[in-house]
Symmetry: C2
Subunit: 184 residues, 2 copies
DNA sequence: TTGACAATAGACCGATCGGTCTGTATTGTC
DNA sequence: GACAATACAGACCGATCGGTCTATTGTCAA
């Protein structure tokens, strides 16, 4: 079997993604991941060294994919419109079949240890969002770009956390508010 | 010993509150709770029957306390001002020493099973919030009270989730937005 | 053909999980 | 003084946790 085509490492990351995101990092044991990935225990520890590192790697790939997805979604949108259009992306995400909240928020709330490698990834991605929001609000020419960018972060968090609990309506509500905010 | 004064049940709930809220429901085992409460295993199962029920009871007491705290905080505020003043309460909560996000959001994200008794409690409390928001926005005399109430829920979720990750600044940001929303 | 390499299966480890059960000490009530 | 009720301590259960280790298989290059 050509192992570089199947890619044990990728299979493990795929399985980790499905299970960790869907059920939570603490709720899913190593053995579940191995069964889902159809991989051997030694392979996991060969490639990642520990469960904590697997979690960090899963989150790193997920955030990388998310950035790419967002950038692709906004590519055709003029900079001045991107802040609002981003919330279209959020709505689509919240409405997607397997949506179960924000992996960054989950990481922070599940992994108490501030030094956990996955939390480092999470905070990096949060910064990326903060930078994008500031960039977009500046481009939108609103009065107080910094305060508006921070408000967008609140709306984003509220959209995702709210959608996890109450359903995607919350994401639409956030978009409604973002529109108001960016217009005023 | 007068057991009704010491109150094993209350001691267990106190310990569960501290540990479950601070570190997460799945991260804390029964034995940790027993040690923290200085109680015997049999007492826990006598009073609660299972860990799941202990979690539900902890959350029920916590939500009850939260409602009382909010109502007391708003007692002196005229109904038309309550929506905004509520966010003062949120800011104070986010700035409190042991703040670690919203137990309702944590419950939903940690306990996947939709039938879990704690999730029933969580959804009940969410409804209470939704009703209060609608009540307050109606009293504030805003144009679209229903949409505004839903927007306040987003701001609340964003304030709390954001504060857990980034610190209490997010709660202030949410208040800033709530003020804008309620003024327009 | 051989040897290095990457993957497999799965036994095994100590620790911890939620939960049950036995036994004992203390309490207030009759 | 006897009784039931309540709480205690802690042994014990099977299952699972994250992690290590041995042994085996299949693939590719020299």
């Amino acid at each position: 079997m050509n192992t570089s085509e199947s890619g044990v490492r990728d299979r493990l990351l795929d399985a980790a993604d499905r299970l960790f995101y869907q059920e939570g990092v603490r709720a899913v044991g190593i053995d579940r991941v191995l069964a889902e990935a159809d991989a051997a225990k030694a392979s996991l520890y060969q490639h990642f060294g520990s469960k904590d590192q697997l979690v960090a790697s899963y989150l790193e790939r997920k955030t990388k994919d998310a950035r790419a997805s967002i950038e692709a979604y906004l590519a055709g949108t003029p900079p001045s419109q991107r802040a609002l259009t981003f919330f279209d992306w959020v709505v689509a995400w919240a409405e997607s079949k397997d949506f179960r909240g924000c992996p960054l928020q989950h990481t922070v709330s599940e992994l108490t240890d501030a030094a956990h490698p996955a939390r480092v990834i999470a905070h990096g991605q949060r910064e990326w969002f903060a930078e994008r929001f500031l960039e977009w609000t500046k481009a939108a020419g609103v009065k107080d770009a910094k305060a508006t960018a921070r408000a967008l972060m609140v709306l984003f968090d509220g959209a995702v956390a709210g959608s996890e609990v109450d359903g995607p309506q919350r994401a639409s509500d956030a978009r409604w508010m973002a529109k108001k905010l960016l217009a005023g």
